[in-house]
């Protein structure tokens, strides 16, 4: 099972994501914004990063760019959690190095299905 870094400034979203993933047997570390996630990523290796886009301090797109610059995160899947209208955010995310995205709102089943897509 995978070690997953879940980044969102909304505590309820983090709770939901973490609860779902833990229920599926993954190990989850939470971060409340991009900067906190980046600090964690510099000390620890993760198999997957799930990140919200709009966050204080450091947004998800900058986080993706910064993570890709770390040697240990060159190929680690990074999924952005975006809202349905955010087509340009998806493109921006991709340009910054994100692997893909999950469209909000999603339910736990959809989240797990997407994770399965990435992790196999």
């Amino acid at each position: 099972m995978a070690t997953i870094l879940a980044v969102d400034d909304s505590a309820s979203m983090r709770q939901m994501v973490a609860f779902t993933l833990k229920g599926a047997g993954h190990t989850v570390t939470e971060a409340a914004d991009g900067q906190a996630a980046l600090d964690l990523a510099k000390r620890q290796k993760f198999d997957l990063v799930l990140s919200d886009v709009n966050m204080p301090r450091m947004d998800g797109i900058t986080l993706a760019r910064e993570l890709r610059a770390l040697p240990s995160f060159k190929f680690v899947p990074i999924l952005m959690l975006t809202t349905e209208g955010g087509m340009n955010k998806k493109q921006e995310g991709k340009a910054a190095g994100a692997t893909g995205w999950i469209v909000k709102p999603f339910n736990p089943e959809q989240l797990l299905a997407t994770i399965k897509r990435v992790m196999g």
Partner: protein
């Protein structure tokens, strides 16, 4: 796997309320025409999170409503829309609406749909009004070219029966750098049908030149089976701008030349302005939610700063070290080690004390939690009343127990409202009095001793002594001639009498029944006190004094027979030995003790609690003079013991409510001591004396 979304809703509601508070405070500071990027970002982010969360957790009404707000804010953020006063007001109203929606979701009452509709109409009018150039150019321009190559959907959209798809897939060299992986894509394709891939190695460089991080192989994939095109497109959704991709029905594949892939059709759906379907949990939300939280405004969870938690963990660490040191010492304790044992024990004492202090501090929150609503209130009230009011706040970081905080909110609202409504004069009146047209209301909080003091100070007209006196006479509180002799403090104290309002005109804002008596009662219930100072023409100051926490009490231990009671130190005025000559027994009623000029009712605690005292003789015992609920009395006890801080344990939760007692505590020697409810016991004794206080006390 099914997960109940209910459990996250509480967190969602709490964080959304915080988000709304942020929106509100930013909006209140915002001036038309000059929005700072930071400010707008902040409110946009809050609205965005609320919308996202509400959609996820099944609050469609909130999603729909905030969607419009978010769109408008996004236009402001991207500079397409100017910030007008109208927009600020609309956003503020929207904050109220969403707050109501959250409260209704939480507590299950109905919200004012007419008001929602009105604000929503206002928002939509605004959305349609100014030509906020619709973000048609939202897709990055470099993608523009591929968008033109929209696939003809007619022939291809339907899956050819029994057919399949021919896919040419040529990853750009950088594709792997986005964390995407050809193997993963193929694995997914293989799940859809019969999968076969041929690699085209022509672009592969010699081994020495090969960059392992770059994709260099192209693929011809045949996928057989009855598979919708969307399913195939979806698998390539994340990489379609990082590769050349063609997807054709198998039978036509040979005839067609490769074309660069366009957006998969799915995005057309995503961009349409539809309200998304609710997550499955939505249906069962209302009934369960109501159960999960009581209607009371006191929330049961608490936000604690991470620093406090870290400090606790640190201290527990130290405690563990001390403990292990002591247990090592204990294994082979010899007399020469007694010094070290003493050191260890004093270390343990220090650890315990620090831990106690820090655990208590977890319940403490900065008073800004209670103050935060006032800027908005002052803003709304003053414009409603046609006054100019500046609200100043200081000491917002002063910490206060969470329970106290929740209960002090309403009294504070009342006092601030009064200050603006009755205290501050209209601009003309202020000008006539030679004052600045803008009045000031100053909220200040600070610590003093074991108390927290909250001041509400206005620079308005001050209290009208004559009018208060006239009203007091009218209500029969004093005789017509008594007024002149009273001190200002005594006159102002009438304000806290039930039903006492001096407002000449009962305005829409205040003077609607809930009076200052309720304010005082609430504060007293918290073990606090309120007093007033005022000078005509210069303004008034209401000062609230509250204990820092409700969980710990400074107590005076007193002994009655075998039993130890605790009298809250704040209620004690003095203690004395009685002289027989000053005792007056009134037949059939209470005994009174003449203390200086006053007569104090004597309450024999042993009698109230049905105990056997050392002596029933008044002069053998001690009289503890106490005050509660504005009345004084003397408690007869056998002896005064020490003073100490005690942790209050509720009798109601552990036993049952006992009249005359407010709780219990466990003393250092393990015995239980009962805490005397001063207000309650005075009430009991003056109710005629026939009611015995809890006979369960022994």
């Amino acid at each position: 796997m099914s997960i109940d979304m209910e459990q996250f809703k509480t967190t969602f509601i709490e964080e959304s309320l915080e988000g709304l508070d942020i929106m509100e405070s930013v909006l209140l500071e915002m001036q038309p025409g000059e929005a700072e990027a930071d400010e707008v970002d902040n409110i946009f982010r809050a609205a965005h999170s609320i919308k996202g969360g509400s959609a996820t957790f099944g609050f469609q009404d909130i999603t729909q409503f905030t969607h419009v707000v978010e769109t408008l804010l996004d236009q402001v953020r991207s500079g397409q829309r100017a910030v007008t006063q109208e927009a600020i007001d609309l956003f503020l109203q929207s904050v109220d609406i969403v707050r109501d929606m959250l409260a209704s979701a939480q507590e299950g009452f109905d919200i004012d749909q007419a008001q929602v509709a009105a604000v929503q109409a206002g928002l939509e009018r605004m959305l349609n009004s100014t030509p906020a150039s619709e973000p048609a150019a939202a897709t990055p321009s470099d993608d523009g070219a591929t968008d033109e190559h929209e696939h003809g959907t007619s022939g291809e959209a339907a899956a050819p029966a029994g057919g399949g798809w021919a896919i040419t897939f040529k990853p750009f060299p950088d594709m792997l750098r986005s964390g995407n992986d050809v193997v993963r894509l193929f694995r997914e394709l293989a799940e859809l049908g019969e999968f076969r891939a041929e690699a085209d190695l022509s672009a592969m460089p010699a081994l020495v030149d090969m960059a392992p991080e770059e994709a260099c192989i192209s693929w011809q994939v045949t996928l057989r089976g009855e598979i919708p095109r969307e399913a195939v497109a979806e698998i390539f959704e994340w990489v379609d701008d990082e590769c050349e991709l063609t997807i054709h029905p198998l039978d036509e594949a040979a005839a067609l030349t490769p074309v660069t892939a366009a957006e998969p059709e799915t995005t057309a759906v995503a961009e349409a302005p539809v309200v998304q379907a609710a997550p499955p949990a939505a249906e069962r939300r209302s009934s369960e939610r109501r159960k999960s939280r009581s209607a009371g405004a006191e929330s049961s969870s608490i936000r604690v700063s991470i620093d406090k938690v870290d400090a606790l963990i640190n201290m527990v660490g130290e405690l563990v070290i001390t403990q292990s040191m002591l247990s090592q010492l204990g294994e082979d304790l010899t007399l020469d080690k007694v010094e070290r044992l003493k050191d260890g024990l004093s270390e343990l004492e220090r650890n315990t004390r620090e831990l106690q202090e820090n655990v208590m501090s977890i319940r403490m929150l900065p008073i800004s939690f209670a103050f935060n609503r006032f800027p908005r209130m002052a803003h709304d009230l003053s414009s409603k009343l046609g006054k100019q009011v500046e609200l100043k706040m200081s000491g917002e970081q002063t910490e206060l127990d969470k329970t106290v905080m929740e209960k002090i909110g309403d009294p504070l609202v009342h006092l601030v409202r009064n200050a603006i409504d009755h205290g501050i004069e209209a601009p003309e009146a202020r000008r006539a009095a030679g004052k600045a047209e803008t009045g000031t209301v100053h909220l200040n909080a600070y610590h003093q001793g074991g108390n927290i003091l909250i001041e509400i100070r206005d620079d308005g007209a001050g209290l009208d002594r004559e009018r208060i006196l006239a009203k007091a006479v009218e209500r029969g509180l004093i005789g017509a001639s008594e007024g002149a002799g009273l001190s200002d403090a005594a006159v102002y104290a009438f304000l806290f009498e039930p039903g006492f309002s001096t407002a000449a005109v009962v305005s829409d804002v205040s003077g609607r029944g809930v009076g200052m008596d309720v304010v005082k009662r609430n504060i007293t219930a918290l073990g606090g006190a309120i007093d007033v100072q005022s000078s005509p023409g210069e303004g008034s100051t209401f000062t609230i004094r509250l204990p820092l926490t409700l969980a710990i009490l400074d107590g005076q231990l007193v002994r009655v027979g075998e039993q130890t009671f605790i009298v809250p130190l704040v209620s004690i005025i003095e203690s004395l030995q009685m002289e027989q000559g000053r005792v007056n027994a009134i037949a059939g009623a209470a005994e009174l003790y003449k203390l200086r000029e006053d007569y104090l009712p004597i309450i024999r605690l042993y009698d109230a609690f049905d105990l056997r005292p050392d002596s029933t003789n008044l002069t053998d015992g001690l009289l503890v003079v106490v005050e509660g609920n504005g009345r004084q009395a003397g408690l007869l006890v056998d002896d005064l013991l020490g003073q100490q801080q005690v942790v209050i344990k509720s009798l109601e939760t552990n036993f049952k409510k006992v009249e005359g007692l407010s709780g219990a505590t466990i003393l250092g020697d393990g015995t239980v001591a009962l805490i005397v409810d001063i207000g309650g016991i005075i009430q009991l004794s003056q109710g005629g004396g026939q009611t015995r206080a809890g006979s369960a006390a022994a």
